[in-house]
Symmetry: C2
Subunit: 208 residues, 2 copies
DNA sequence: CCACTTGTCTACCATCTGGTAAGGGCCCTG
DNA sequence: CAGGGCCCTTACCAGATGGTAGACAAGTGG
């Protein structure tokens, strides 16, 4: 069967489940959920579709697992930043830079985020389950800062959502650029980061 | 059959073809190409799927027609602006405002644009066929302005692609906001427009 | 050594999909 | 009124899709 027979049955050659997860992330992020067939996905891994279903029960289950992993990656990166001791604006700056770093290191991750951000998309609900607490937490922090006079008063939620969609929009930008045959996409992405930081600063910095 | 029988055969009640086109635009833009089934689309219109295929030959044909219509709408709006006599920066400003106006009036249009901007997406190629000449035209104009010293020197193509993906990104933003239950989306979109204009101005205005 | 669990496979299925073939009502024109 | 084009329909199909059932190999623990 290509790779050399059934092998040791109990999860050898690098963890089938993890490999499926990676491939699914890439496929969902580029071809979309509907555009991904379990048969093709399995074939690409030298595996039968039923093996995928064994690990993830259903296609929806696979999507949920992928969403969970992505959310985990992102919140992990954010938590690591929050563990550092930055304050006020420095913290905002560090958070933004961290998210952009993750995004650049794993573009597929952004692709999935965009795919799943579409309303009525399966997985949108699942993603909200991860994002809502994060957003609420950030919102409370910002509002506390505003109350303490360390940040300027503004609509915290709208600010956060705007920042979020900027990040997701980076996925679109990367794809547009690649479609147009433009090579290294670093510069425009950095440009976006700069814009976002300026936007946040001009909205939050008490020194206008 | 629901709406009251076969009716006058020859295209009555508002033009079946146009109605299909509208519904397809909405469905492709929200559910995506793969996520749209001709049966469902037809059912939503009180029509049989074969009627759709009669008018558009195939699903791909339908997508192409939808892409063509969207491109037509956009280029039409742009041409109308270009017919006006603005010069230099005023022309850029008017073009950006025009595109954003169309985008706000027909959000579905943006949805499709985003869907189709995905590489490997069917329709991506078709869209490029419409966009490339537009882009080339804009690029030549900008470069002429730069040569004449009326605009600052910069990478025109990258600038245009960045502007384009900003507009497409608005679709993501609107969807994110709606998903979060935020009501009127006017303000953030205006914010994006402002950002884009500032970006263009700071890149192009010879008076730094 | 046997019972059990785990991971993968083969076989099969119901449903849905885009698409073809063919027919029929309606209008226009000769 | 006969013929043909236009619009939409019913009937049907081949292929792909997600999912179920069951077998089989290999490791694990008593």
């Amino acid at each position: 069967m290509g790779y050399g027979g059934p092998v040791a049955a109990t999860e050898v050659r690098g963890g089938t489940k993890a490999r499926v997860l990676d491939a699914a992330l890439a496929s969902f992020g580029t071809a979309g959920f509907d555009g991904t067939s379990l048969d093709d996905l399995a074939a690409g891994l030298g595996i039968r579709k039923q093996t995928i279903l064994y690990h993830f029960v259903s296609k929806r289950g696979l999507l949920n697992a992928v969403v969970d992993r992505v959310a985990e990656d992102l919140t992990g990166a954010l938590d690591r930043v929050l563990a550092g001791g930055q304050q006020d604006w420095e913290r905002v700056d560090a958070l933004v830079r961290s998210v952009f770093r993750v995004a650049l290191e794993q573009p597929v991750l952004l692709g999935l985020l965009r795919e799943v951000s579409r309303p009525n998309s399966p997985g949108a609900h699942r993603l909200r389950g991860h994002m809502d607490p994060l957003m609420a937490r950030a919102r409370l922090w910002i509002e506390a800062e505003m109350a303490a006079g360390r940040m300027r008063r503004t609509d915290a939620q709208l600010l956060l959502l705007s920042a979020y969609s900027t990040v997701v929009g980076v996925a679109t930008e990367i794809e547009v650029l690649r479609a147009a045959g433009v090579g290294p996409t670093l510069r425009p992405v950095v440009q976006r980061r700069k814009e976002l930081l300026r936007f946040l600063r001009s909205s939050l910095d008490p020194m206008s």
